[in-house]
């Protein structure tokens, strides 16, 4: 498993009187295969996961993935760390399903046939092969999120970060997405409000008011989170 080192990371948006601190002095070493993150809205968890692939650079402190600093080696880190967002519509960038999955493989030095084979394999894995030439915007919410997931996984990242990937989905579609994630060989960092998705996870972090306030097993972390929110 890749090792993610988060060293004394703080982050603030804005300046002067508009300055808003969203993360305060967070230090963690993530080595487990399944890591969950829960917390109230505005607790800093989304900013935290955006730091894991260098989308957000910390105001102070450092984040290293397998020894690569997100500040100095953003490109290499992004190749290692795939990111799946809450709203699939905002991350599907090409008009049709097949084209969107192929998009991530541009400039990877692969031949057209190699790209086609990898895309076809990915679409078959997630049950989208019948929609390959369909416009992405006509898919259901669950299919769109599976497409977004396929488009990230086709590049074979070592880590998959997911920021509330099931928040906009109904229970059936949420189960489809979580089922797809369960069998992945990758290290997964999942932010979620669907607490049952964390069953079987190795480690769960609870964020509250810009800090990690609990770090433990899913059962104990969820109990702590419920207590905190009561």
């Amino acid at each position: 498993m890749p090792v993610i080192d988060v060293d004394r990371v703080s982050h603030a948006y804005g300046e002067g009187s508009n300055r808003r601190v969203v993360l305060s002095d967070v230090s963690l070493r993530l080595t487990e295969q399944r890591i969950g993150i829960v917390g109230a809205n505005g607790s800093g968890k989304s900013t935290f996961v955006r730091m894991l692939n260098g989308l957000v650079l910390p105001t102070s402190g450092s984040v290293r993935v397998d020894g690569l600093d997100t500040r100095k080696s953003g490109r290499e880190v992004r190749r290692l760390v795939g990111f799946c967002f809450t709203d699939p519509d905002a991350q599907i960038v090409m008009p049709t399903v097949r084209e969107d999955v192929a998009f991530g493989l541009r400039r990877r030095g692969l031949s057209k046939d190699q790209v086609a084979a990898r895309v076809a394999g990915m679409l078959a894995t997630y049950g989208l092969e019948g929609h390959a030439d369909h416009p992405a915007h006509l898919l259901s919410g669950g299919q769109k999120q599976l497409l977004a997931l396929s488009s990230v996984l086709v590049t074979e990242p070592a880590v998959l970060v997911m920021d509330e990937p099931t928040t906009l989905l109904d229970l059936r579609n949420a189960a489809k997405v979580s089922g797809a994630v369960r069998d992945l060989p990758q290290q997964v960092v999942l932010v979620t409000h669907h607490l049952d998705l964390l069953d079987g996870f190795d480690r769960v972090l609870v964020f509250d008011e810009t800090r990690v306030v609990y770090d433990g097993t899913p059962a104990s972390a969820v109990a702590h989170y419920r207590e905190l929110m009561a």
Partner: protein, 200 residues
């Protein structure tokens, strides 16, 4: 809206033709259209384009859907020409607009966006010398095509929210949330592009 200008999979000769060639033919047809002056010339051009639909095995229904949004505009133009000139002029102008729109739609429906983007990237390559990044131009084109249904979806949501709150048609109450949501979407899309390695 959802069927406007979308790729229709197929293996016909038009599907297999190079995207650059198709774009070139479209451009040439647009330029040459100014030379057509008689009703029968327009009819021949229209016939050729409709023949293209038959060759590409695209149903007539799809062809009708491409020109339907033009009915009001073309109707007004035709009315103007009938009142100010002749029936023939009205036919030539409206017929040419319909022919060119049908041709553009035929190119879109028989060409994958990625092939179209690759062709545009190829065409822009000489511009690299003056500081233009061809890949970026291609990406802009793809994002433009992709964003149409997204913005239409946002507009529908804003209109529904207005109706649910009992607000009558107010252009400002429609435009402001639509612009705000579109900008938010653009922001999220930017993040996704960075995460997918576009800038790397």
């Amino acid at each position: 809206m959802s069927v406007l200008g979308l790729y229709q999979p197929g293996g016909t000769v038009l599907h297999r033709a190079r995207a650059g060639t198709k774009l070139g033919v479209m451009l040439a047809a647009g330029v040459a259209s100014v030379l057509l002056d008689h009703w029968w010339q327009v009819l021949v051009a229209l016939g050729v384009v409709l023949g293209g639909y038959a060759v590409a095995r695209i149903p007539a229904r799809m062809a009708v859907l491409q020109v339907r949004p033009l009915v009001w505009m073309v109707g007004l133009i035709a009315l103007f020409h009938v009142l100010s000139g002749s029936w023939e002029r009205a036919f030539v102008v409206t017929g040419l607009i319909a022919t060119l729109v049908l041709l553009a739609a035929l190119v879109t429906m028989t060409t994958r966006t990625t092939d179209m983007v690759d062709a545009v990237v190829g065409l822009c390559r000489p511009l690299r010398r003056v500081g233009v990044d061809p890949e970026r131009v291609g990406l802009m084109l793809a994002l433009g095509i992709r964003s149409v249904p997204v913005v239409v979806g946002l507009a529908e949501e804003v209109r529904d929210a207005q109706r649910a709150r009992g607000l009558t048609a107010s252009p400002r109450a429609f435009a402001v949330p639509l612009i705000v949501r579109s900008l938010r979407h653009a922001d999220a899309l930017g993040d996704a592009l960075v995460a997918r390695g576009v800038d790397d």
